[in-house]
């Protein structure tokens, strides 16, 4: 019980801290942050249920007014902004990423990469694009067009999520809650 609680809390803190990491500019001029990588890691390291709870805890703390969303954003305002769909998709993304790692028999690094892609990209965009379309009064295709710029960054994060999860599995074999 204690282990579940502390892992959920510590990974919520990790997601926040990864948001402080300075943004890297891609060649296309689009900033990428490590925060959504943190979301993927919640799922691939903690598993579906705990991963989703960690992200949910993080979001509650954003809502109550901590400036811990990437770029120092926070408070209730972010839930009325065009990116609200991504925020709603965050816990689901972590859940799916965790589910893939729990269920798959592939080597841990590959399973984590696939999970990070399905959760952190496919599922996340399935929430983010309709959210943006709704908030900016655009069609789904138009909204999708607006965020294609982020895809190269996401590809990098998927690979990193796989590598980090694999590294953790090697260093602390017993600590990966997604693969007990």
């Amino acid at each position: 019980m204690e282990r579940s609680l502390t892992h959920i809390a510590l990974f919520a803190a990790l997601v926040a801290v990864l948001g402080f990491v300075p943004q890297i500019m891609l060649a296309t001029g689009v900033p990428i942050t490590a925060q959504s990588l943190g979301i993927m890691l919640c799922g691939t390291v903690l598993g579906a249920r705990r991963g989703a709870l960690a992200v949910l805890l993080f979001l509650v703390l954003v809502a109550v007014g901590l400036p811990i969303l990437s770029g120092g954003r926070g408070g209730l305002g972010v839930f009325a902004s065009p990116t609200v769909g991504f925020l709603i998709g965050f816990p689901v993304a972590a859940f799916v990423a965790g589910l893939v790692v729990e269920r798959s028999r592939a080597p841990i690094g590959l399973a984590a990469g696939i999970g990070a892609f399905l959760g952190g990209v496919v599922v996340l965009y399935a929430f983010g694009i309709p959210g943006m379309a709704l908030m900016l009064d655009k069609s789904l295709t138009e909204a999708a067009l607006l965020i294609t710029a982020y895809l190269p960054g996401d590809a990098i994060k998927v690979v990193l999520a796989g590598l980090v999860t694999q590294g953790l599995a090697r260093m602390r074999p017993g600590a990966l809650l997604s693969r007990p």
């Binding site: 990790l14 770029g71 408070g75 009325a80 990193l160």
Partner: protein, 199 residues
Amino acid sequence: MLTLTSTVETPLHGVRAGIKLAALCVFTALLFQMQGPVALATAAAGVALVYAAFGMGFAAQGVRLLRPLWPFAVVIGVWHLWTADLAGGAVILLRLFTAVAAATLVTMTTRLSDMIAVIERLAAPLRHAGLPPRRLALAFALVIRFIPVLSDRMRQITAAWRARSPRRPGWRVLLPATLAALDDADHVAEALRARGGVG
């Protein structure tokens, strides 16, 4: 760590958090019903007036918090210039800025502890689903305490990397940082268990 609550005392600081949140819900729902630019401009002016009434310092902080919206304003502006539908663009932007500004107003005038109290009240029924309020409060406290701890750890890892290599650490800090979070979680779990557990 700083919160987004404004240090400028305003009359809204005295209003109960639950009432402000309920009012915000109603206001936002109405905002998304409005279709005409005139109605939306009136609502926007109303929110702007409230900010202005609380003084320059308060309004300046509000403007700073709205800064992440500007890229969207530029995109929508260009888009609607191109499609020659300026009224449509104005409606979208007015609604967006007013909704975010109103929500930010509640955040800026409500203390973190009051906000957390509301969350704990809302989550009280979850006690039957296996989440006692005490455990939730402990989780909040742990996250708030460990954000600066992990942040420091990340700085140390980066400094250690720089001491050894002329190159930038980049993504290489990720693995040790995640490892630190995992290990800290185990240590804190042990410490909690030694003190009687989370109940």
